[in-house]
């Protein structure tokens, strides 16, 4: 673990894996005075309360995976994505088996980024860990459910994107006018079910 200075009131905590990111996030979440806590692929950015942050990181066990989740969310999916066939072919299995694999797994929100409410979910079965499309789509429709590398995600709104799309959800993922704008937050546990 490496602490990198980021201006006067923030630190970038650099670690070696998503599991360690999760451990750092869990250790810092809820510390009084923290203004921003932004997990990413190999880092956690933390702004504010730097003395308490340094103290909390002193004795941290990075191998300890948090067992509690801020919330548990189920997302109904219609599995009719334009890349379902490609994904099945790449994995060497049937389309039904893709759906079974995707719905049987339990995911965790590793971090959000790219667009408001866009959550990168880890826990994807190995045979579904596939590369992005050779040529990204200029418009991925809102609610599309895709996979890319070790992640799966649902698009909160229409954006360009290169993920392989296996389905779509009608659930609202981000509504800035709502009391709780983002359906998914870092640390949440997520399951997909067939709608």
């Amino acid at each position: 673990m490496l602490l990198r200075r980021c201006g006067t009131d923030a630190l970038l905590v650099e670690v070696d894996s998503l599991t360690e990111v999760s451990a750092v996030r869990a250790a810092l979440q809820g510390l009084e005075g923290i203004e921003e806590l932004v997990p990413a692929a190999r880092t956690v950015l933390v702004k504010g309360a730097l003395n308490q942050v340094r103290e909390a990181l002193k004795d941290i066990d990075l191998t300890k995976v948090p067992t509690t989740h801020p919330s548990e969310v189920t997302i109904p999916v219609i599995y009719d994505g334009p890349d379902l066939g490609l994904v099945a072919e790449t994995a060497g299995i049937s389309q039904d088996e893709v759906v079974t694999l995707h719905t049987d797994a339990v995911y965790e929100v590793a971090f959000c980024g790219f667009a408001p409410g866009f959550a990168y979910l880890t826990g994807l079965p190995e045979s579904l860990q596939q590369p992005r499309l050779d040529s990204p789509r200029t418009k991925v429709p809102q609610g599309s459910v895709g996979i890319a590398g070790e992640f799966t995600a649902a698009y909160p709104r229409a954006t360009p994107g290169g993920w392989r799309l296996i389905g779509r959800t009608e659930i609202t993922l981000f509504d800035p006018k709502a009391e709780t704008p983002a359906l998914l937050q870092p640390g949440d546990q997520v399951r997909f079910v067939v709608a």
Binding site: R4, R5, C6, G7, V38, A40, C112, P181
Partner: protein
């Protein structure tokens, strides 16, 4: 009865802004808010508003409004000509408008953004705790258009601030920058920053101020996306730095060579294309 003003004509860009919605970066939501918060809070104080009230951020001024109620307004930012009807009025000073009076804000000769506060503040619904327009992610109200009608909140009694100094736009900015978090991607980052010189690019916006000039030599490659804060100076492969302003993306994959303190960031928010920039690195 509702207190309102009508937008008769906007300039290049007129946005509703308050102090933004920090604290939501973990959801992928930029902080947004006025890029020169100092000028917005001064304007609010002149009309008796709390500093957090929503006002207007006017790129190159140039806004005309009609009051549909009596209200107090104040224009801050760089020095600019202001008229009420045909009569010249003072910027950086409270101005009382009677119903049907027209306020016309000219174009400042220096600087980039004027701020207009209206007594009671602009009353649009909050999104994630703020009324600010975020141009990157589309959160908050749309940019203003001609003929829009804006509702105002309930005014408080004016406080004792009655004149404030205009923003002094400088032809050369010398900006302190704290090295890190990725200064190790650069060979002798401190010297490169200290010896370089740049000008503000005309492709700058609320997402970031782009600088043209000395190429910062960095390692090739990208970092797995990581959180970035407002004021971060990111260096893409072309070596031309970008200073992240309020509507910046919450994560990025280019190395951040250093971070500009909040107190100095507003000078970028007010820097016209062509302004010279030098950095004073703090190790």
């Amino acid at each position: 009865m509702n207190r309102t003003v009508t937008i008769i004509r906007t300039g290049p860009q007129a946005l509703i802004q308050d102090l933004g919605r920090p604290g939501n970066a973990h959801l992928g939501v930029p902080p947004s808010g006025a890029v020169d918060p100092h000028s917005l809070t001064l304007a609010n104080r002149l009309v008796g508003n709390p500093e957090t009230a929503a006002g207007l951020e006017l790129l190159l001024g140039a806004l005309t409004i009609r009051a549909n109620t009596s209200c107090t307004v104040a224009v801050t930012g760089p020095a600019v000509q202001v008229h009420v009807g045909e009569k010249l009025a003072d910027s950086h000073h409270p101005i009382h408008l009677r119903p049907h009076e027209v306020l016309e804000i000219g174009t400042p000769e220096t600087g980039l953004r004027n701020y207009l506060a209206l007594s009671g503040g602009i009353d649009v619904p909050e999104e994630l705790g703020s009324r600010s327009t975020d141009l990157l992610s589309g959160i908050g109200p749309d940019p203003l258009r001609d003929n829009d009608v804006l509702e105002l909140g309930t005014p408080s009694p004016a406080n004792d601030a009655d004149v404030v100094p205009p923003h002094q736009a400088l032809q050369t900015l010398v900006i302190p920058i704290r090295l890190g978090p990725r200064d190790d991607w650069f060979e002798d980052a401190e010297t490169q920053l200290r010896q370089g010189s740049w000008t503000v690019s005309d492709r700058s916006n609320r997402v970031g101020t782009r600088l043209n000039g000395t190429r910062l030599n960095r390692r090739d490659g990208e970092i797995p996306s990581e959180g970035v804060i407002t004021g971060a100076v990111q260096v893409p492969p072309d070596g031309q730095p970008v200073v992240f302003l309020n509507d910046h993306p919450t994560t990025g994959g280019y190395p951040v060579i250093g971070v500009v303190d909040r107190d100095h960031l507003r000078f970028f928010g007010q820097a016209r294309p062509g302004t010279s920039v030098r950095f004073r690195p703090i190790v």
